[in-house]
């Protein structure tokens, strides 16, 4: 059996009478980019929210690195090495890009009950943060206020922050959301550079991007995974085409 970093088994989540996540089983292999695709409302973001600890599942288990993390808080999962980005841009808008990423480094660098030494002169935080900014091509924008850079750059900042946490695995919630063609292309390039170095679970709407990056695909429809396979096999799977891809990809 392959080496699975993240294993989701029999995950259930109901909101009222609606099954948002219905018996989801998922295994992400170490070092792979595993994409979850599905139509709007299929439960993709709900799935990410449960993996990151934002929402508690009704039942089922999530194993990360061989340990059940289903009862961990969001912060504890992050410290365990499971970093996420948000679909709706969720950076600290009034701070500079550098300050944002420095906080991300700080979060994975022991406790922060340090009351005296100024962060500005903390070379360890600064160097690591600049390296993460460079990895997404934002190092020349480090001193800009996050609110003042473009939407695409904010999305890149999201990824830089996730990288700065030195995670074992990235959960990316629609990193291309709301991006134009060019910006989306830049993001694909960034993620392709991470390929092989980092395990990534990617939830994405943009089919072309997913097909060009992912090692493996799972198709989520109505809270249920109807197929998990290689990119080529999913492309040719008639059930998937019917449920999701529709005419445009036929």
């Amino acid at each position: 059996m392959a080496d699975h970093l993240l294993t989701v088994s029999h995950l259930h989540k109901h909101f009222g009478g609606i099954a948002a996540i219905d018996d989801v089983n998922l295994a992400v292999e170490q070092g792979q980019i595993h994409a979850v695709i599905g139509p709007n409302g299929a439960g993709k973001t709900t799935l990410i929210a449960q993996l990151s600890g934002q929402i508690k599942p009704d039942s089922g288990d999530i194993e990360f690195g061989g340990r059940s993390i289903v009862n961990y808080s969001m912060a504890r999962r992050a410290r365990a090495g499971l970093a996420r980005s948000f679909q709706i841009t969720s950076v600290l808008m009034p701070m500079t890009l550098l300050e944002n990423v420095m906080l991300a480094v700080q979060g994975s660098d022991g406790h922060s009950f340090r009351f005296w030494a100024p962060v500005n002169r903390d070379a360890r935080l600064k160097d690591a943060a600049l390296a993460s900014l460079a990895a997404v091509g934002l190092d020349d924008r480090a001193e800009q206020i996050a609110a003042n850079v473009s939407h695409g750059e904010q999305r890149q900042l999201e990824v830089a922050m996730a990288l700065a946490m030195k995670p074992r695995m990235l959960l990316l919630d629609e990193p291309m959301a709301g991006m134009g063609k060019e910006e989306g292309g830049a993001m694909v390039e960034i993620l392709n550079r991470l390929k092989g170095k980092l395990t990534i679970l990617l939830v994405e709407h943009d089919m072309d991007a997913v097909f060009s990056m992912a090692d493996k695909l799972s198709v989520l429809v109505n809270g249920h995974i109807i197929a998990t396979d290689s990119v080529d096999n999913i492309r040719n799977n008639s059930e998937v085409q019917k449920a999701y891809l529709g005419d445009s990809h036929a």
Partner: protein
């Protein structure tokens, strides 16, 4: 000139601190000793407002119960003195530990809530303190408690003279300013400020924001209790009146007048508040009305308080010259 502070606001604050450092001499020179008492009271309140600004401004935790910690600090002096304990270190230890314990217990509950609920619950806890002291017949109940002798610190200058007490207050004010400055720029402060902007994001970065905010709340309460200890010494009298929620509201106003989440805002805000209160009440008995209208105008039009106004003024001058 490199040694000059860079911004207009910083120059104003530097000048202000210089004046404050020599205030006892200045007031003696113009033969107005009463003003030194007024200034002492203002600076004591400023320490309380600095502590409130730490959680309200930098941390985004709007507490409407901070006056409770002024009261706790003052009653620690008052009740210890009532039993003939005048040792200042004992007063200090009491004020800091009692406030820390109370803040830890009430903060642990309050910080489970957000927004308006946090405001209401902090107010409820402070009213609890208020009514407790109101019902304690032994310590004067609503008549209050007279403190006959000031805290004794044999190692330092005595608080007994007006100037002696003033320099105690001034020194602790400087310490508070410096402490908050370092705190906000340290790793801890970054977490506190980040949690104000986007708490969920901070959790996703691995921070247990609840623990950091609770710690910040306790630190702020202890600082405020320190101010309360000084206030008890200064007035020589403590009553539940000091604790009511209206007092907490005044502290919030002082933060807003000076400039929320700025380092010197609480100091200038408190000075402006106390001076205005004093000046208006000397003019007319209906001063509350004018004062209220002024506060409303300030909140509506004075964006960023006095600090914000100084910064805008500088930009305007720079644009024209």
């Amino acid at each position: 000139m490199k040694w000059l502070p860079a911004t207009l606001a910083a120059r104003v604050y530097a000048l202000l601190l210089l004046v404050l450092a020599f205030a006892p001499l200045i007031f003696e020179w113009i033969d107005q000793p009463f003003y030194l008492d007024l200034l002492s009271r203002a600076l004591i309140l400023a320490i309380a407002v600095i502590s409130l600004n730490l959680i309200l401004g930098f941390g985004g935790m709007v507490s409407l119960g901070h006056a409770a910690y002024l009261g706790i600090g003052a009653y620690c002096v008052g009740i210890a003195s009532y039993y003939d304990f005048y040792n200042g270190w004992l007063h200090l230890a009491l004020a800091l530990s009692v406030s820390a314990i109370f803040a830890l217990l009430t903060g642990a509950v309050s910080l489970r809530t957000k927004g308006v609920y946090f405001i209401m619950i902090t107010m409820a806890f402070s009213q609890m303190v208020y009514f407790t002291f109101l019902s304690l017949e032994e310590y004067g109940a609503d008549d209050g408690l007279v403190i006959y002798s000031r805290s004794e610190f044999p190692e330092f200058i005595s608080m007994d003279s007006s100037a002696g007490l003033y320099y105690w207050v001034f020194a602790l004010l400087l310490a508070s300013l410096f402490f908050v400055y370092r705190l906000v720029h340290a790793r801890f402060g970054r977490v506190i400020v980040g949690s104000r902007f986007n708490e969920q994001r901070m959790q996703a970065l691995g921070f247990n924001t609840y623990r950091y905010r609770l710690t910040c709340y306790v630190i702020s309460a202890m600082m405020c209790s320190l101010a309360g200890m000084l206030l008890g010494n200064f007035t020589g009298f403590i009553s539940p009146d000091m604790i009511g929620w209206a007092r907490s509201g005044e502290l919030i106003f002082m933060v807003i007048i000076g400039g929320v989440a700025t380092f010197f805002g609480p100091l200038v805000g408190t000075l402006a508040f106390v001076v205005l209160e004093e000046a208006l009440s000397a003019i007319t008995v209906y001063w509350h009305l004018i004062f209220g209208l002024l506060l409303v105008a300030l909140v509506l039009f004075g964006k960023g308080g006095i600090h914000g106004w100084l910064s805008r003024l500088e930009r305007k001058v720079a644009d024209h010259g």
